[in-house]
Assembly symmetry: C2
Homo-oligomer: 358 residues x 2
Amino acid sequence: MLESGARLGPVEVAYETYGTLNDDGTNAVYVCHALTGDAHAAGHHGDPDRRGWWDNLIGPGRPVDTDRFFVVCANLLGGCQGTTGPASQDPATGRPYGLRFPLVTVRDLVTVHRALLGHLGVGRLAGAIGGSLGGMQVLQWAIDHPDDIAAAMMICSSARLSAQNIAFSAVAREAIMRDPDFQGGDYYGTGRSPDTGLSIARMMAHITYLSEASMREKFGRRLQHGDAPRFDFRVDFQVESYLQHQGESFLKRFDANTYLYMTRVMDYFDAFGDTAAAAPPGPGGTATRFLVISFDSDWRFDTEHSREIVRHLQAWRVPVTSREIASPWGHDSFLLEIPEYHRTVKAFLARAADETGV
Amino acid sequence: MLESGARLGPVEVAYETYGTLNDDGTNAVYVCHALTGDAHAAGHHGDPDRRGWWDNLIGPGRPVDTDRFFVVCANLLGGCQGTTGPASQDPATGRPYGLRFPLVTVRDLVTVHRALLGHLGVGRLAGAIGGSLGGMQVLQWAIDHPDDIAAAMMICSSARLSAQNIAFSAVAREAIMRDPDFQGGDYYGTGRSPDTGLSIARMMAHITYLSEASMREKFGRRLQHGDAPRFDFRVDFQVESYLQHQGESFLKRFDANTYLYMTRVMDYFDAFGDTAAAAPPGPGGTATRFLVISFDSDWRFDTEHSREIVRHLQAWRVPVTSREIASPWGHDSFLLEIPEYHRTVKAFLARAADETGV
């Protein structure tokens, strides 16, 4: 049963785990992935070139230390990397859902995470962590189920998108849905898919993931071929080549319908907007400790987004630590090994685990 | 003869004038339009709903005072509002140029402006003014022909685009050129045109013309229909509706090929990049006075772009006045009636005209 009232099932969930669950099931850390992530957060399955997207954060001796913690990461509901989503077969019709897949919410994503933990025998989480959309899941989870999580960590996340955030998502969806190969979402098995729209969406998104300064440093006005500009419409500047590559390579691993669903999940998310969340989450308050991290050059979800989360949590008088970390790399910073950021996560998680006796 | 060495001709130029040229031809002000502008800068041709795009700046008693000045504005070379451009007939083939239209440069745009002034009997300009791409033309003009312009005014302009600027343009062009209706640029007369690509480009550009704060103020997270979200993929937030409207209405007045050419003109522009411009523009310096204005909330061409212009001009020891003006409206500010901005332009232009005896 989804938040919208729609029913969906059965649901398959693709997940990975790292480290070992202790006997009393108290050392688990849940990793929530962002818009285009997947369950492969860490390790490399024997191919060192295919390291998980958060491998610098998760592993033996790393901030999310797999020598101490049992780490779980699952592909999101509505995803395209193993968990049931719009490309999955609708049992009612025997065909892929396409746009008949119900619109899910962040709360629905959390419902699936919790079901997975039940299946794995995990009790209370030592921690939950996520960046961007991942942080939204952690926040919703901690609000709705204050007993579930000891340490809730939201990295460059948001309690609700701004008009500009929604605008970028809206243009991305337009590019996908108006691609003639989109076919109303029923492109599976037709030999055509909205590759143009999806790569345009990805290229545009990539601009918003980097800061202007990091783009200047990385590419400047440097040309791709030699010193002389070509003066035509082909790729000429290095930044054009980079974006084209990002757009193309994305097609190999991502499904356009999932892009629609995940961006819309984010548009509608409003953690403190509904009345249920407008009051403290229980008579005794929450036992969750919160860590809210932003990066000073992130203009996709700037520090003001994090401040809004902090203001609400402080009004509830729950323990919240917030840090704005200096980094030139924009929104993408949450994926990078930035010493102060990693030190902060490591210390926060370790302290919460010490205090709860993990 | 274009800067690239290509030849193009004959060239038609669509232009408008306001006010009256004085007997010695010294009271002219040239208005250079931006990416999607046209020659209709002021007045309304009898239809008050069709006022020119800079009508608040140009007119009797306004900052560019048509009681005193003779104002000229022409559609740019490569444009789609009357001046020869990619939709014009190529005399060599009898068909529209399409992408066989030569890639022009800001210098080429200025060459056409100067030819028009010769035709109109205008001598030295009392002033030249432009915002964004318009300011690039003014800057190039003043550098190459220091005797042409008494008062050169660049509003939220740039001496060269940043990697992020180029990136947005590159994605816009991708959206247009990968639209199946683009047909390699030869869509004229086929009954199909790359409307999807062009409207995606326009929607994305619009996000960059507004500041995040002004989008928040204008739209926030308000819904288009009632209070309850629809939870689907149709337009639901007001900001989505606004962008769709901008994308659609743009199609009625603009040509996709011109969008390609004008964005590429901007990508390649580098006012101080070539060696010819790396030295002062003459033994006695220039007689041009410069005014460089930026807006504090403009993130398309932020104040750093203006500062770069100022730094170069100051190194040449030419008189330059620069102002960063407070405005919440982002890049679009140059089109709006912001008192401090308009006062600054008015005073600067009037003083330069007084001193040169107009």
